[in-house]
Symmetry: C2
């Protein structure tokens, strides 16, 4: 493989391989996609000129994401709010409270100012809804034919309070696995728009900020790991967490909520909703005895009203995701391979 393929951007196994082989060895990170956690004490330690016995009791989370979704306007949202919520959610998945966002724009020459205004208004409204401030920005323009309208990068900074520790390494056998909402809405909404399909009722993107519901969860139960199943969908994200924890995820297909419209569209398009991107749901692996409480908390929040417990963690086989299918069979879930849905976010 000597060239970048569309599949390298899909969030699946090709992308993981690329990142592992070329990015991780050069950079100070174990993976791409998750928030980096900065121990604020390390910053204090660089301030050697002053002796400061007191230590701050929080960490910073830092993350970045570029948005290249096509089309830029889709049922339920546009690239602007997607870019804000996507980065807000990345921070939230680390247990962080998002505070500050940067926004870098790459325009293709000829992009309509009218569309820019709509996108900026959506970003501004999204920032307010999520409670973050967009405080840094940049604009670049490339020649006609060398871009595709607009690409947006957002990076974000959040704080992780003392005592909050969210990581796949905390997952234990016996933990319960919760999904906060229905599978596949974002991906189906985008692909329908791209292909000129419409459904009745329409399938809308689920793009939404999850930071507040995450804080509600952290206040009422022990959450071991969280991740938002964007590119690659629920299946890929479960597989990532199973691999990183070294444990086995046992999932009930029947327990995963899928809207009728998404189910129908997926059949029509030959897609599996478990591999379709989401932009407003999370997967949480939680302490068994707290699962019901967490589920109740989630269901009280509009962004979690369709939440469900979809399975549990077992000791072995290590790194596997086993799906008990609707018809009673068993299926091994792997990461998305290839490019099921390019440019979905």
């Amino acid at each position: 493989m000597d060239r970048i393929l569309l599949g390298h951007g899909s969030g699946g196994s090709l992308m993981h391989k690329l990142v592992r082989e070329y990015f991780v060895p050069e950079f100070e990170m174990k993976s791409l996609g998750d928030s980096a956690v900065i121990d604020i004490n390390s910053i204090f330690q660089t301030l050697t000129s002053v002796n400061r016995p007191e230590r701050p009791n929080f960490k910073l989370a830092f993350t970045t994401d570029s948005y290249v979704v096509s089309p830029i306007f889709f049922p339920g949202g546009n690239i602007g709010e997607l870019a804000v919520y996507g980065t807000v959610n990345d921070l939230a998945m680390a247990g962080a409270e998002p505070l500050y966002i940067s926004a870098g724009f790459i325009f293709e020459e000829g992009f309509l100012i009218e569309d820019l205004k709509k996108i900026l208004a959506a970003m501004s409204a999204a920032a307010k809804k999520a409670g973050v401030k967009i405080i840094a920005g940049d604009t670049k323009v490339v020649n006609k034919g060398k871009g595709d309208g607009i690409f947006i990068n957002t990076s974000g900074i959040g704080i992780i309070r003392e005592g909050v520790n969210i990581s796949p390494l905390n997952i234990r056998a016996g933990d319960k696995i919760i999904v906060s909402g229905m599978a596949g809405n974002h991906g189906i909404a985008v692909i329908a728009e791209r292909n000129g399909l419409s459904f009745n009722p329409p399938v809308l993107s689920d793009t939404a900020p999850l930071n507040h519901v995450v804080q509600e969860m952290l206040a009422c139960g022990e959450v071991h790991a969280m991740r938002d199943p964007t590119r690659g969908g629920i299946a890929t994200t479960l597989k990532e967490m199973a691999l990183e924890s070294g444990l086995c995820f046992m999932i009930e297909e029947n327990a995963i909520p899928v809207a009728n419209g998404v189910r129908g569209a997926s059949e029509l398009l030959g897609l599996d909703p478990l591999y379709v991107a989401n932009e407003g749901i999370l997967l949480a692996v939680v302490k068994r005895k707290d699962a019901e409480t967490l589920l109740k908390t989630l269901r009280k929040n509009p962004y979690g009203e369709n939440a469900n417990i979809i399975g549990y963690v077992s000791e072995s086989p290590s790194g596997k995701v086993l799906l008990k299918t609707k018809i009673g069979g068993n299926r091994m879930l792997d990461m998305l391979s290839g490019e099921q849905l390019p440019r979905i976010c």
Copy 2:
């Protein structure tokens, strides 16, 4: 004007107008391009659950920049080190010590892995040289013909020590204006490569990390304002600072160092080196009595060996930059208008 033009990305007056009209009203920022400064006390204040009388005595700087330079390999560097140093320098211009960088990549399908490896190696080496860590990242892929090989966004976090306060608002009449090196090398190197021109000796990009030399300056004199004259060149950056300070900048053209190769190439290409992008120099407005000390400090550092005092600040006319030309005339410098050199960084 109903569409984005190439000139909107040039760093000049068109871009400033776009940002002022559409971005600033929606976002929590006064301008694009500069680092945002985060008062870390505001973060402490969000941690209301614990009473913490002790307060951290530093601020955070946060900035973002996308890099779309064409071609991606040019004499003296490539898009990778440019993306690291550009963001390092943005932070340094706020008086910050850069610590952490994120890197978001947008690839065009078909991009050569061999080129990716070179770029990642350059980024890694640049991060080491600047003393920053690349801790967060993201990769996206767009279809062939919808991008241009590779675009990179970097965002950065730095700390600003107690007592450091760099802002155009601190500029006073009587201040001296220093440039840390020669004008126009980066822009000429890129444009030469783009047009298949070569010079003997070759003109190399000046891409370089300025954070260490900035710290040396801050330790030995009073620096009121700093900015790196990238897109739009020295002239545009001086004009920005004159406008923001409400004072007048009196500049001696003879005092601005320009390499012979850059001078010759600029004449050949019909360019003014004062409007050509730089990636390894800074403009500093400093207290008059500290100017000579700061100049000496700069000249001891390899990145400042061609530094010079190029003028001073006077009370009026407000917001103007007056250039005393080589032949003894006077010329008013304005921001770059239009797209002298698109996609220079």
